[in-house]
């Protein structure tokens, strides 16, 4: 018999999380006896909360929110890491006089407070040696963030590259991007997670969900154009918007660029480097967490039990790297 499962994304359906839909379209769930309902999310933090509260069985959210939720004592646990960089960073207009992170001093910076990169802006600023005192941070809604940059209402925005860059491209606005990772502030993106009690009680189901998603991610890597077609079949509104397909292609490519990491290439898709996770936990505890938070032990939060089963060979990785090169350029 099939199990009914609810899965939430961190945000609207985008190329960067398209494998959730592609897994449905290619039958990766049904083959495993799963009937999965994929829901759009309303922010990483909220998605992590929603899964902890049992409104969903599974979620795909960034590592930061997973650690933050755990630090607040919410029951949450990761099963695999799909993408290895949130592509957090500072987006600029191409003609911007800001060349380096230091140049941000004294400027106006737009940000969406509920988005995942916002809490780590101070971490980036500190490590990049920026004096934050003279910077004005303007809170903005997702719906107007990029517009504000293009219209010069702000000098720069903090952004998730895989979301914001496609939007700017669609408006033919050339951009530059300063990733947080350039200052060593780096977070895993897209961790598949659930509640500990689900993992304990239905281990095989958790494994099946993880595998199905990774299988779809692999297909996405190997056949990006077909993957987009499958995605649009599941989410027709992507097709109806004028730049929808292009947006999805960009978002997918940008997120896939982060998969060209030793974790996936050497150990197989879904693999987590526990040392990096430990560093991310430190970052969260230092910058993102409230005073009453308790540091969650990395081992209690994530494991490689289900990861690494799907591997691509070197020539496949080679082709993929060539295909993805333009996206890497966009991320600065």
């Amino acid at each position: 018999q099939t199990a009914n499962i609810k899965l939430t994304l961190p945000w609207l359906a985008q190329g960067s999380t398209a494998y959730a839909y592609i897994a449905k379209e290619m039958g990766a769930f049904t083959r495993r006896g799963l009937n999965v309902e994929v829901s759009r999310g309303f922010g990483s933090v909220a998605a992590a909360q929603a899964v902890a509260q049992g409104q969903f069985d599974y979620a795909i959210v960034g590592a930061g929110p997973v650690i933050l939720a755990a630090a607040r004592g919410l029951p949450i646990v990761g099963t695999a890491t799909v993408n290895y960089d949130m592509t957090m960073g500072i987006a600029l207009r191409e003609d911007s006089p800001i060349r380096t992170a230091k140049d941000l001093e004294g400027k106006k910076l737009g940000a969406v407070p509920t988005s995942a990169e916002f809490p780590f802006w101070p971490a980036f600023a500190q490590r990049a040696g920026i004096n934050m005192a003279g910077i004005t941070v303007v809170q903005m809604d997702n719906r107007v963030l990029e517009r504000g940059l293009i219209d010069r209402q702000v000098d720069a925005i903090t952004a998730i590259g895989s979301s914001s860059i496609p939007v700017m491209q669609a408006q033919r606005a050339a951009h530059r991007f300063i990733p947080y990772s350039s200052a060593g502030v780096n977070f895993y993106a897209n961790v598949i997670c659930t509640r500990p009690e689900v993992l304990a009680a239905r281990k095989s189901q958790a494994e099946a969900v993880t595998e199905a998603l990774l299988e779809a991610a692999a297909l996405q890597l190997k056949e990006p154009e077909r993957a987009i077609d499958m995605f649009i079949k599941q989410v027709p509104e992507i097709g109806i918007t004028q730049g929808g397909r292009e947006n999805a292609r960009l978002s997918q490519g940008l997120m896939q660029w982060t998969m060209l990491a030793p974790e996936a290439m050497d150990h197989g898709l879904g693999y987590t480097d526990m040392a990096k996770w430990n560093a991310m936990t430190d970052l969260v505890m230092q910058y993102g967490a409230p005073n009453d938070a308790r540091r969650p032990a990395p081992e209690s939060l994530i494991s490689n039990d289900f990861a690494g089963k799907i591997k691509l060979n070197a020539s496949e990785w080679g082709t993929i790297r060539t295909n993805l090169a333009p996206f890497g350029a966009m991320l600065g």
Binding site: R143, E146, A170, P236
Partner: protein, 267 residues
């Protein structure tokens, strides 16, 4: 200013003077057309980019090209708004009846109802999601929450506007409470109830849309948000136009029901 005119009836100034339905329908439509024309002209003249403000013709074309899609997304919005409205109406009317028949409840609750009527309830929308999750139940609950208060307040006004002599007559005839309610108080309250319901239906739609902005996977609010995420302003405006249509249709249904029922109840 033209010369002071003397309206025939105080509340419908000079419409009667303005003559036939032709001018009453044609003129406002013509005015709207002129505004749209100006919009089209100015946007084209100043070459305003489409992301900022597309001309009406582009929005129109987008409505046509996305029509089945818009229709499909109108459905959940319309259904949720309708259900939210109906629940708010039922709850609101029932609470009013309780308040009218129980003096203590009235004194204890009414000021609190007024208080809620005054506060900016929209700020609570995100919490509904936290409490009730992202399903339609939280959108419904929020929509009920904001549509509820106008129903209570106007139903109470209505139930309290029965002529006192009529109530005296009923009392003298030793009528039962429920008889008085069904045959006298409630029918007398209908005009007030409907004016509350008309406010409630527009509020219910606002509630659903705000909810859809936050959580939905379908519906016109979702579509607006989705189109925003793609910076597709023509689709945003097409969805908003559709939203206006849904709003007017639902309002029209309530106003039509009002007409029918008030005709029956002879006010």
């Amino acid at each position: 200013m033209s010369d002071m005119a003397l309206p025939a009836t105080p509340n419908q100034p000079r419409l009667s003077l303005a003559g036939h339905w032709v001018s009453q329908i044609l003129l406002p439509v013509a005015f709207a057309a002129v505004v749209l024309g100006l919009w089209e002209g100015l946007v084209r003249w100043y070459q305003v980019p489409e992301v900022i403000l597309p001309p009406p013709s582009v929005i129109g074309a987008r409505i046509v090209s996305a029509w089945p899609f818009l229709l499909q997304h109108s459905l959940p919005t319309a259904i949720e708004a309708t259900v939210g409205f109906l629940i708010a109406a039922a709850f609101g009317i029932v609470l009013s009846v309780v308040l009218v028949y129980s003096r203590w409840a009235y004194v204890a609750l009414y000021p609190n109802v007024v208080f809620f009527q005054l506060i900016p309830k929209i700020a609570l929308a995100p919490l509904f999601i936290v409490w009730l999750g992202i399903g339609s139940s939280s959108r419904l609950a929020f929509s009920v929450f904001i549509a509820f208060f106008p129903v209570v307040i106007s139903t109470l006004t209505g139930l309290n506007s029965t002529p006192p002599d009529m109530l005296r007559l009923c009392k003298a005839l030793t009528a039962k409470s429920w008889q008085v309610f069904l045959s006298v108080r409630f029918p007398y309250a209908l005009p007030h109830i409907f004016s509350g319901l008309k406010v409630a239906v527009t509020f219910a739609i606002i509630g659903v849309i705000v909810g859809e902005f936050i959580t939905a996977q379908a519906g016109l609010g979702y579509l607006v948000l989705f189109a925003s995420s793609q910076a597709e302003t023509p689709l945003i405006l097409a969805a908003i136009a559709m939203l206006c249509v849904v709003g007017l249709v639902l309002y029209g249904i309530v106003a039509g029901a009002e007409r029918l029922i008030l005709k029956r109840y002879g006010h």
